[in-house]
C-alpha cells in the first residue's frame, strides 16, 4: 500500500491488480496460455536483444520518434495555452496502434505462435495487426463488428489488401465489444497455435500492463521532446479514451510528476443522459473481457450498448488502470459529444492542415475549452492518436446532411 502512495507507476501487482481493478477473469482453457504469456513477456522485457529489435523496427518501420509539433494557429485561435500535438497519426498505418502491435507480434514470434487474431473497432488496430502479420509472414484474422465494417470500409479494404481475413461479427450489438467476444471464442478454440493481439490496455493480466508498456514510448518521447523544445515538463496532457491505450501511453511516464495535469476524454455520444460510451462517467465497476473495470451496464449486470460517432471509442468498458487512476483522482476524466468531436475535427483540419481521426477529435474538443482557460506560458500536449482518412467518407456524409451521427 505504501508503494501506491509513493508512486502511481508501480502497478499492477503480481496478480494483475491496479487497486481493485484488473485481474484474470477468463475461461480455464485460456488460463495456462495467459500464464505462459506473462512469463514470455517478462523474459522479453528483460532481454536486451528484444529491446534492440523493437527499437530497430520502431525507427525504420514505424517511423519513430513521432514529432511533437507546436500547433501555432490552433494556439492563436484558442488564445490560451501553448498547444503541442504528439503526432502519432504520422506512424506507419496511421495511428498509435502500431506501437503495441509491434511489441506483441515480436512476443508472439518468441512464443512460436504462427496465427494471430485481433479485434478491431475503427479498424486501426486491425490494420496495424494485418500490417505486422504481413511483415512477418503470419496468418491474421481480424474480428470486426458488422456495424463497424459498414462505417469504416476503407480500413476493411486495407486489411484485406494486407492479406488478413476480416470476419464481420453479427452477434450482440455488432460493435467492438462483440468483436472482442468473438476473438475470445476463436482463441478458446485455437489456443494451441494462436496468439490474441489485444488492441488496448484491457483484457486479462498481463495485457493491460504489456500494452501500456509498449505504448509508453509516446510519453517517453514527449518528455524528451518537450525538454528539447521548451526546456521543461509539459503542464498538461490530454488524450481521448475508448479502451485507453493511446492515453495510457502518453500519461504513464508522467504519472509521478505531480505538476502535470492529466485529462482523459471519453466519448459522450449523443450526450451523457442519452446513448454514450463514457464508462467512467456513466458506468460502474464490473467484470467483462478478463478484467474488473468500469463498465456501462444495467442494474442486472447486463452490459449496455455504447454509442459514439467514433467506432474506436464505441466500447462499454475502459482499461483497468484508468479505472484506478480515476478513483485515485490522479487523472481527470472528461467527455466530448459526437457534435463536439465533429466541430473539433473540422477546426483542426482547417487551422493546421491535419485531419484527425474522429477518436482524436474528442481530445481536441476538450482542448478547445481547456486551452483558453490556461495562461499563454502553459504547455499543453494533446495526443493526436490517429489520422482521419478513414473517417472522411463518414464525416463527409454527415456534413452534407445525408446521415445522422
Amino acid at each position: 500500500m505504501n508503494s501506491r502512495l509513493n508512486s502511481f507507476r508501480s502497478g499492477p501487482d503480481e496478480r494483475g491488480h491496479f487497486g481493485m481493478f484488473g485481474g484474470r477473469f477468463v475461461a480455464e482453457t485460456l488460463m495456462p496460455l495467459i500464464l505462459d504469456l506473462e512469463k514470455a513477456y517478462a523474459d522479453a522485457k528483460n532481454d536486451p536483444a528484444f529491446q534492440r529489435e523493437m527499437a530497430g523496427y520502431r525507427k525504420d518501420y514505424i517511423g519513430r520518434p513521432s514529432p511533437l509539433y507546436f500547433a501555432q494557429r490552433l494556439t492563436e485561435h484558442l488564445g490560451g495555452a501553448k498547444v503541442y500535438l504528439k503526432r502519432e497519426e504520422l506512424n506507419h498505418t496511421g495511428s498509435h496502434k502500431v506501437n503495441n502491435v509491434l511489441g506483441q507480434i515480436l512476443v508472439a514470434r518468441r512464443m512460436g505462435k504462427k496465427r494471430i487474431i485481433a479485434e478491431t473497432g475503427a479498424g486501426q488496430h486491425g490494420v496495424a495487426t494485418a500490417t505486422l502479420c504481413a511483415r512477418f509472414g503470419l496468418d491474421c484474422v481480424v474480428y470486426m463488428g458488422a456495424v463497424d465494417v459498414a462505417r469504416q470500409e476503407p480500413n476493411v479494404i486495407r486489411m484485406e489488401m494486407l492479406g488478413a481475413k476480416v470476419v464481420p461479427v453479427q452477434s450482440g450489438t455488432r460493435t467492438l465489444k462483440d468483436a472482442m467476444n468473438e476473438a475470445l471464442r476463436d482463441w478458446v478454440t485455437n489456443v494451441h497455435d494462436t496468439f490474441y493481439c489485444i488492441g488496448t490496455v484491457a483484457g486479462p493480466h498481463p495485457y493491460p500492463m504489456m500494452v501500456r508498456d509498449f505504448q509508453s514510448v509516446i510519453g517517453d518521447e514527449t518528455r524528451q521532446q518537450m525538454q528539447e523544445a521548451e526546456g521543461r515538463l509539459p503542464d498538461s496532457l490530454i488524450a481521448c479514451i475508448g479502451g485507453g491505450s493511446n492515453a495510457m501511453g502518453l500519461f504513464h511516464p508522467f504519472l509521478d510528476d505531480s505538476s502535470v495535469e492529466i485529462f482523459g476524454v471519453e466519448a459522450a455520444g449523443h450526450g451523457l443522459d442519452k446513448l454514450h460510451a463514457a464508462s467512467l462517467t456513466g458506468g460502474r465497476p464490473g467484470v467483462l473481457h478478463g478484467n474488473r473495470t468500469y463498465l456501462l451496464m444495467n442494474d442486472d449486470g447486463q452490459i449496455q450498448d455504447a454509442h459514439s460517432i467514433s467506432a474506436g471509442l464505441d466500447y462499454p468498458g475502459i482499461g483497468p488502470e484508468h479505472s484506478w487512476l480515476h478513483e485515485t483522482g490522479r487523472v481527470k476524466y472528461l467527455s466530448a459529444t459526437d457534435e463536439e468531436a465533429l466541430s473539433a475535427f473540422q477546426l483542426l483540419s482547417r487551422l493546421e492542415g491535419i485531419i484527425p481521426a474522429l477518436e482524436s477529435a474528442h481530445a481536441i474538443a476538450r482542448v478547445m475549452d481547456l486551452a483558453p482557460q490556461r495562461p499563454k506560458n502553459h504547455l499543453m500536449v494533446v495526443n493526436l492518436s490517429g489520422r482521419g482518412d478513414k473517417d472522411v467518407p463518414q464525416v463527409g456524409d454527415i456534413l452534407k446532411g445525408r446521415k445522422k451521427t
Binding site: 482453457t29 488460463m31 442486472d300
Partner: protein, 278 residues
C-alpha cells in the same frame, strides 16, 4: 456438508450408472415455459439440471446458447428471476440438484454475499462460473463454499497435470471436463480421448467427473457415460427448443415436448451405458 449433488452421485453409484446432466437457459424463451420445462426434465431422465444465467456477453458460448440468453433477456429475464425459477421448481422437487451456470458480472452486481444467501435459500446446489479460474478464487469460490454451495470447476484439455491440482483444490460436487478446446456447441471429442482425460483427472481427485461439449445423440451420450461419471448435454437441447419457437421467437405448444423428447432419448443412451470400473 452434503449437498443434493453429493447425494445424487452416491445414489447413482449404488445403481451403477452415470449421471445425465441437462443444460437449459433459465427464462428461455420466457419464465413460464422455462419453469414447465425444468419441471419436466427429471421425469424425462435428467439427473442433474444446469440452469444458464442469461448474460449479454457469453464469450465462451457458441451461437445457440448466445441466442438462448438473448431470448431470455428480451423476455425480461434477470438473475433475480433465475433464482425465482429455482424456488418455484423446488416446491415440487427437493431432490434433483440444480447448478447455476454463467458469467460473473451479474452475480458481482447482485452482490456476492446476498447472491449466495438468496441462491442457497432458493434451493441452488452448485455454481459453474465460466470466467472465474482458480486465480480468482477469493471472488466467489471460497465464499460459495462457506455458504454451503458447491463450486464446480471446468477442467479442459489445456489443464495439464501441473495445473490440475490448482484447478481441483477448491472444487466440490463434481468436476466438469470440457472435452475440447472451444465454445459450447462445437464438434465432439472422440470418446477414447475423453476416456484418457477422465482417467488422468481421476488420478488427482475422488470427485465424480462429468464430461460435456459436443454430445448430441444417444450413442454419443452412451459412449461418454461409459467413460465418465456423467454426460452433459446443452446445445442440442437449446437447438431443439429454438426450432420449436414461432417466427417471433415465442414458445409454441410443441416447445416443452420437443425438448423433453430429446432428453428422454438421450437419457436412454446414458442409462444403457455400463459404467467403467472405478
Amino acid at each position: 456438508m452434503t449437498t443434493r449433488i453429493d447425494t445424487r452421485f452416491a445414489e447413482l453409484q449404488t445403481q451403477g450408472r452415470s449421471a445425465f446432466v441437462t443444460y437449459v437457459m433459465g427464462g428461455d424463451p420466457d419464465m413460464a415455459t422455462s419453469l414447465d420445462l425444468i419441471k419436466a426434465l427429471p421425469k424425462a431422465g435428467a439427473d442433474i439440471i444446469e440452469l444458464g444465467m442469461a448474460f449479454t456477453d457469453p464469450m465462451a458460448d457458441g451461437p445457440a446458447i448466445q441466442a438462448a440468453g438473448l431470448r431470455a433477456l428480451k423476455a425480461g429475464m434477470t438473475l433475480k428471476k433465475t433464482l425465482d425459477l429455482v424456488r418455484a421448481f423446488r416446491k415440487d422437487d427437493n431432490a434433483t440438484p440444480i447448478v447455476l451456470m454463467g458469467y460473473y458480472n451479474p452475480i458481482y452486481i447482485y452482490g456476492v454475499d446476498r447472491f449466495l444467501a438468496d441462491a442457497k435459500t432458493a434451493g441452488v446446489d452448485g455454481l459453474i462460473i465460466v470466467d472465474l479460474p482458480p486465480e480468482e478464487d477469493s471472488e466467489l469460490c471460497i465464499p460459495a463454499m462457506k455458504a454451503g454451495l458447491n463450486f464446480i470447476r471446468l477442467a479442459t484439455p489445456t489443464t495439464d497435470d501441473k495445473r490440475l491440482p490448482a484447478v481441483l483444490a477448491n472444487t466440490s460436487g463434481f468436476v466438469y471436463y470440457v472435452s475440447i478446446t472451444g465454445i459450447t456447441g462445437s464438434a465432439a471429442a472422440d470418446s477414447s480421448a475423453v476416456g484418457t482425460a477422465v482417467a488422468r483427472i481421476k488420478r488427482h481427485t475422488p470427485l465424480p467427473v462429468c464430461v460435456g461439449f459436443g454430445i448430441r445423440t444417444p450413442e454419443a451420450a452412451q459412449a461418454i457415460a461409459e467413460r465418465a461419471n456423467g454426460a452433459v448435454v446443452g446445445t442440442a437441447l437449446v437447438d431443439v427448443l429454438a426450432k420449436s419457437l414461432d417466427a417471433e421467437g415465442k414458445a409454441t405448444a410443441k416447445t416443452v415436448g420437443a425438448v423433453v423428447d430429446l432428453v428422454a432419448s438421450l437419457a436412454g443412451g446414458v442409462r444403457s451405458a455400463r459404467q467403467a470400473a472405478e
